[in-house]
């Protein structure tokens, strides 16, 4: 799927650094993150809670809550333009139109006082200049594509009248309404039950084929990654620790964290006697270790790890990992 196409990424994030400030202290919540996504490609970002996945995606959208947070450096090249430099006015045209986003919690991500129709039509009227009636028409149409049989009625209903799975489908419909080139899905299924998650994953798979958009899929569920992603980056404490194609990552995880992560989840088709477990806790941004951020929990920690930050190192085709172990192996 990747090879024959001329490789020109739709989005390329280079050395992104986003920080929050608490009492004047900078908390580098996203630190030196780089990745690329092309049309038709799905990039998954995995990592534990607090590792900076959402902040990364919000940085792309330039929706970091401010005051409090700020993009400190790096560039976000989308279709050739650097979004971090774009005037706010131009950003309005990008958001929702060229890059759309869906969020984790469908319960709270829809405005409770506006009807579903109003909320979907809003984007269409704004970005596509459709009239009120036309936009509503289009909204019904999109709702059909995301699997609402009763689309014509749903447009007049309010979010609270829908179940979680339905709301998430509305969110997806809203995101897809303007045919965005890039869709960012921030943990779109985490809050949902498995059976509903299956419906949503199914829907996303179909949309991916249909629209040929690029997708950034944020999740902490490796199963979802295996199901949907083409490429994966693994984040830990604000840093990308490993990056690879999905097969490569599952077959040949390099970073001790990725490996630990994979071993610590119980699997349906295996009978493990005892789970592997990464001890300790994820460090919080106000006390990230000085060296490798994983050094406090790493089973293979070396003295060097406490001192120095490792770089991302190429460990295979399209496979990068941030660990001193690979250096040692090279030497």
């Amino acid at each position: 799927m990747l090879e024959p196409k001329q490789y020109r990424p739709l989005l390329s994030v280079n050395n992104l650094r986003t920080s929050f400030f608490r009492k004047g202290v900078e908390l580098p919540v996203v630190d030196d993150v780089s990745f690329e996504v092309s049309s038709g490609e799905t990039l998954a970002i995995v990592g534990e809670s607090g590792s900076g996945k959402s902040v990364t995606s919000l940085s792309v959208m330039r929706l970091i809550p401010s005051p409090g947070g700020r993009i400190m450096g790096g560039e976000v090249l989308f279709d050739g333009m650097d979004l971090t430099m774009l005037p706010e006015k131009r950003m309005y045209d990008v958001r929702g139109n060229e890059i759309a986003m869906i969020f984790q919690d469908p319960m709270s991500s829809l405005n409770p006082v506006l009807t579903i129709g109003e909320q979907i039509a809003e984007s269409l009227r704004l970005h596509k200049g459709l009239s009120k009636g036309k936009a509503m028409h289009k909204a019904i149409e999109i709702l059909r594509t995301v699997g609402f049989a009763r689309a014509a009625e749903i447009v007049n209903e309010y979010p609270h009248q829908l179940s979680g799975g339905m709301r998430q489908r509305v969110m997806i419909a809203m995101a897809m309404s303007c045919n965005p080139k890039l869709l960012i899905a921030d943990e779109p299924t985490t809050a949902l039950d498995v059976t509903v998650q299956a419906q949503i994953l199914d829907l996303m798979q179909n949309l991916k084929k249909e629209f040929n958009s690029a997708i950034i899929l944020i999740t902490h569920d490796l199963g979802v990654v295996a199901e949907l992603a083409d490429k994966v980056i693994v984040m830990y404490a604000g840093k990308v620790v490993e990056q690879a194609s999905v097969r490569e990552l599952f077959n040949n995880p390099q970073h001790p964290y990725t490996r630990g992560l994979m071993q610590s989840v119980p699997k349906l088709d295996q009978d493990e006697d005892r789970l592997f477990s990464i001890g300790g806790n994820v460090p919080t941004p106000d006390n990230f270790p000085k060296g490798c951020r994983f050094c406090t929990r790493c089973p293979q920690v070396m003295p060097k790890c406490h001192q120095q930050q490792p770089e991302l190192i190429k460990v295979g085709d399209n496979h990068l990992s941030r660990c001193f172990l690979h250096e040692a192996a090279d030497v």
Binding site: S277, G279, G280, N281, P283, T284, D286, N287, T296, R297
Partner: protein, 304 residues
């Protein structure tokens, strides 16, 4: 650092340094409070006011009730720092003593209202059912009472006195607290730590007092702080109508009663100004502090 116990083989990293520095609750609360500039200003002002009221007998330069009719409405001077009133009494000394009365009224009424409100609210919220329904219907009635009208009627027809004033204030203003506490109890009793306490076989009383109440204290304290200011203001309004604390006992409110005269307003600006200012500053400070406490005691700080 490693656990001595063999059971926990894979826990080598539970290190203290993972936890950051040890921050007891009061320290967090204090720090948060300290960050609120207005609240700190309020607290400082309040402390000054309360302390000087407490120390009134020692710091007042004059007998607050000593009249010198030949020295009526004297402007502020070295002898009378804030001037004299229409009976030649020293306003500064009276303000100090009046502070005791006003603060006493405010605090006592607050204690009454908060006690009633907390008790009933806790019972209603914790036990629910009929008790709850009964208490909440009572609240509905009392809360719909046009309380100022009732207050005026009450104090007017039963000769006003400090204790009746306090009682009326308390009886008419516990409803807000009751609703607040009930709401807190309704949510808190669903908290898993309360359920846990129940599964441990704790008695209802311990659960109410040891598990729920401490966690509901934040909003109660805030309400209490704001209430004191409210009552001081209410007393002054009644005093304006001649129905507050009765002379010769001085309260800030009734010092203003005598200052209502146009003559005083025109020719003795200091007389209406200072008691008014005291009320204003005190109430303002209570509100500042209450607001600061609201943030500082916000349980969200602790929950994540």
């Amino acid at each position: 650092m490693t656990s001595k116990d063999s059971v926990i083989v894979d826990q080598p990293f539970v290190a203290q340094d993972q936890l950051g520095s040890h921050r007891p609750l009061w320290r967090i609360t204090l720090t948060k409070f300290w960050q609120n500039r207005l609240a700190v200003i309020g607290l400082v002002l309040l402390s000054i006011i309360i302390i000087s009221a407490l120390l009134a007998p020692w710091i007042a330069p004059h007998d607050p009730n000593w009249q010198n009719l030949r020295m009526r409405l004297q402007p502020p001077s070295a002898e009378f720092w804030l001037g004299t009133d229409h009976l030649g009494r020293d306003i500064f000394s009276r303000l100090l003593f009046a502070g005791r009365v006003s603060l006493f009224v405010g605090f006592s009424a607050m204690l009454g209202a908060i006690t009633i409100g907390t008790t009933l609210g806790a019972i209603a919220g914790y036990y629910g059912g009929r008790v709850d329904a009964f208490i909440m219907r009572t609240v509905d009635v009392v809360i719909s009472f046009p309380s100022i009208f009732l207050l005026i009627t009450l104090v007017a027809i039963f000769q006003p006195s400090i204790d009746k004033l306090i009682l009326s204030f308390a009886l008419l203003s516990w409803t807000g607290t009751a609703r607040l506490v009930r709401g807190e109890f309704l949510t808190l009793k669903q908290r898993e730590y309360v359920l846990a306490a129940r599964t441990l076989g704790m008695s209802n009383m311990s659960i109410i007092f040891r598990q729920i109440l401490p966690n509901a204290m934040g909003p109660i304290i805030v309400a209490a702080t704001l209430a004191v200011g409210g009552f001081i203001l209410a007393e002054s309004a009644l005093s304006f109508l001649g129905l507050g604390v009765q002379p010769p006992t001085a309260s800030w409110g009734n010092m203003l009663t005598n200052a209502q005269s146009l003559n005083v307003f025109r020719n003795a600006w200091w007389y209406p100004t200072f008691p008014g200012l005291m009320i204003f500053i005190t109430v303002l400070s209570f509100n500042f502090v209450g607001d600061g406490l609201r943030d500082a005691l916000d349980p969200k700080v602790l929950e994540r």
